[in-house]
């Protein structure tokens, strides 16, 4: 197999063994992007100039800086990169050139990664299908009529189509794990506070977290080690030391206790997903894990609580788009009119809906009934997990209730779209780490994802379980027909 079709950790190994040069690897990535992106629309823009310079620098280094040195990586368009247009999928930021790098972008550059471009997303990360991008939807490499999920749909599709071995995304209610499940790659949302968010365009600050996609779990581990850690510019980032996540994979999974929550296998779950995830659990049992039934009784309330908390925070965060300091400004003679028209022209329908829902929930007379109550339900959801983690090391469940749905199927029904996130949202409300790994296909040959949820700052256990599963199951190695047809 060609090196550029290999998963991230093996691309890294091939670079280390000098079987391929960073420059050759970059050119084959660009070639595949040019061949496939007309159909997929994973990328909003390429950074070819910067990438060629970085690849050249990588090939001239005598010693590799680390495992990401020379590896092509792409970024969700929510990460500020100095001098490179960054839009968060919104018309209101069209043409915006950030004057600085996000901390994670700086860290990737320092690790020698070759940043090839910016990836499509739902506007301001609000959505589960990438259809809310102001620049048109991304398509699923397994079926071009279907969504790759969202909001980090471009990040997931680019990895699944083997355009680049690794990408970064953000996850506020499932925006890394759900698209990873829908395209058949691995995607991890670390613990709240594990990764700096400085320079990451904010959606809901008590929930947003940066994470990584790769075809292999080891690749996700390598990316996470590179981006995690304390940042003086993000007061919510943790000072806990960052483990060598890839090294922890060797420890195996024998004796780990995994909990299976009854509430995550109920009504609304596609039967093939139920079956595939239960088979995944059996596989982990056969690897020496102890499987225990558990209950997370407040999880069914998570979507309702989430859509109050997330929209309330979004209504505040997005107040900054006022046409004064950056981005779009509408023509107007009065200041108030300028604000209202700038935002009316710059934001798409879903962003407007969420700003209004959040504003409503925070407005006089409704605060106690909605926002305060949602925060109390949030406490109950966290308490459920704390109770569960007294007896298990990780929770295993589906990532998404369905496989990839058709583009257009849910765009006019916001609530139906929100209910997609039913298994992922509780994890953000509780601030926990979660990972999705490919665990099979449905009868239409669409990928299925299995989710593992861990204790705060215990990404290592999740990565060990996901890696052990992936080694035995082998689903991550399957190529989507689109890539297969483009030739090996």
């Amino acid at each position: 197999m060609k090196v550029d079709l290999l998963p991230l950790s093996r691309v890294s190994a091939a670079l280390a063994a000098r079987e391929v040069s960073p420059e050759a690897l970059l050119e084959s990535a660009l070639e595949r992007i040019r061949a496939l992106d007309g159909k997929l629309h994973a990328f909003l823009r390429l950074t070819e100039g910067e990438a060629r310079a970085a690849a050249k620098a990588a090939s001239q280094r005598r010693e590799r800086i680390g495992p990401l040195d020379g590896v092509p990586i792409a970024l969700k368009d929510i990460f500020c990169m100095e001098g490179v247009e960054t839009t968060a999928g919104s018309r209101i930021l069209k043409g915006y050139l950030p004057p600085y790098d996000a901390t994670v972008v700086r860290k990737l550059k320092q690790a020698g990664a070759v940043i090839v471009g910016k990836l499509n997303m739902d506007e301001f990360a609000m959505g589960s299908s990438t259809e809310n991008s102001a620049f048109g939807p991304t398509r699923n490499p397994w079926d071009l009529e279907r969504t790759p999920g969202g909001s980090s749909g471009g990040s997931a599709a680019a990895v699944a189509a083997r355009m680049v071995p690794g990408t970064l995304g953000t996850d506020t209610g499932g925006s890394i794990r759900q698209p990873a499940a829908l395209v058949g790659c691995a995607g991890m949302k670390p613990t709240y506070g594990r990764v700096s968010r400085f320079g990451v365009i904010a959606f809901a600050s008590s929930l947003d977290q940066v994470g990584a996609f790769a075809q292999d779990v080891r690749g996700v581990a390598l990316l996470l080690s590179a981006i995690a850690g304390h940042d003086p510019d993000d007061q919510t980032s943790s000072t806990r030391p960052v483990p060598d996540y890839a090294a922890s994979l060797a420890r195996g999974v024998r004796g780990l206790r995994i909990g299976v929550p009854a509430e995550y296998f109920g009504e609304g779950l596609q039967p093939e997903i139920d079956k595939a995830v239960r088979a995944g659990i059996e596989l982990l049992r056969s690897e020496g894990c102890e499987v225990k039934p558990i209950s997370l009784p407040n999880s069914p309330h998570a979507i309702a609580a989430y859509y109050i908390v997330a929209t309330a925070e979004a209504s505040s965060n997005l107040a900054r788009y006022d046409g004064v300091r950056y981005g779009h400004r509408a023509r107007a003679t009065q200041l108030l009119e300028m604000y209202e028209r700038t935002r009316a022209e710059g934001f798409g329908a879903e962003v407007k809906r969420r700003i209004m829902l959040g504003t409503y929930a925070l407005s006089a007379g409704y605060y106690d009934a909605y926002y305060l109550r949602a925060q109390k339900v949030r406490a109950l959801i966290r308490r459920d997990f704390d109770t569960a983690f007294a007896t298990v090391d990780a929770v295993v469940c589906p990532t998404s209730p369905t496989t990839a749905f058709r583009l257009g199927e849910k765009v006019d029904d916001p609530l139906a779209m929100y209910l997609n996130d039913i298994y992922t949202v509780p994890v953000n409300l509780a601030g926990l780490p979660g990972i999705s790994v490919p665990c099979g296909f449905d009868n239409k040959r669409l990928p299925i994802g299995m989710q593992l949820i861990g204790k705060p700052f215990d990404e290592e256990t999740l990565l060990r379980l996901a890696h052990a599963y992936e080694q035995r199951a082998g689903f991550a190695e399957q190529l989507p027909p689109l890539v297969e047809h483009a030739g090996r």
């Binding site: 004057p99 407040n298 309330h301 859509y307 200041l335 209202e340 925060q375």
Partner: protein, 95 residues
């Protein structure tokens, strides 16, 4: 729970969003549908529960209070829709 067009107009004003009459109508229906779902929160017993505003670590580290360089003014102003090299320009607010 229904939300009428007058309420939508009020919330749009608070949100600094100019809506067309079609948007007002569509958003009233869609937000009403979502709020109806959210009503289920009211049935949950939350008596004695302390609200959780964020699930991060209890203490966050303090940074040393030292001055350090910030972005140069011209670099920041370069992204503004209207500026005069010193400040951001906005429509006149005082006659």
């Amino acid at each position: 729970m229904a939300i009428d067009r007058a309420q939508v107009r009020h919330v749009a004003r608070l949100s600094r969003l100019a809506l067309s009459p079609e948007e007002e109508e569509r958003f009233a229906a869609q937000l009403g549908h979502v709020l109806e779902y959210i009503e289920r929160l009211k049935a949950i017993d939350v008596s004695g529960v302390e609200p959780l505003s964020f699930a991060g670590e209890a203490s966050s580290p303090m940074r040393e209070d030292l001055s350090r360089p910030c972005l140069p003014r011209e670099k920041v102003l370069a992204q503004a829709p209207e500026q005069d090299g010193q400040a951001f320009l906005v429509p006149r607010i005082i006659e």
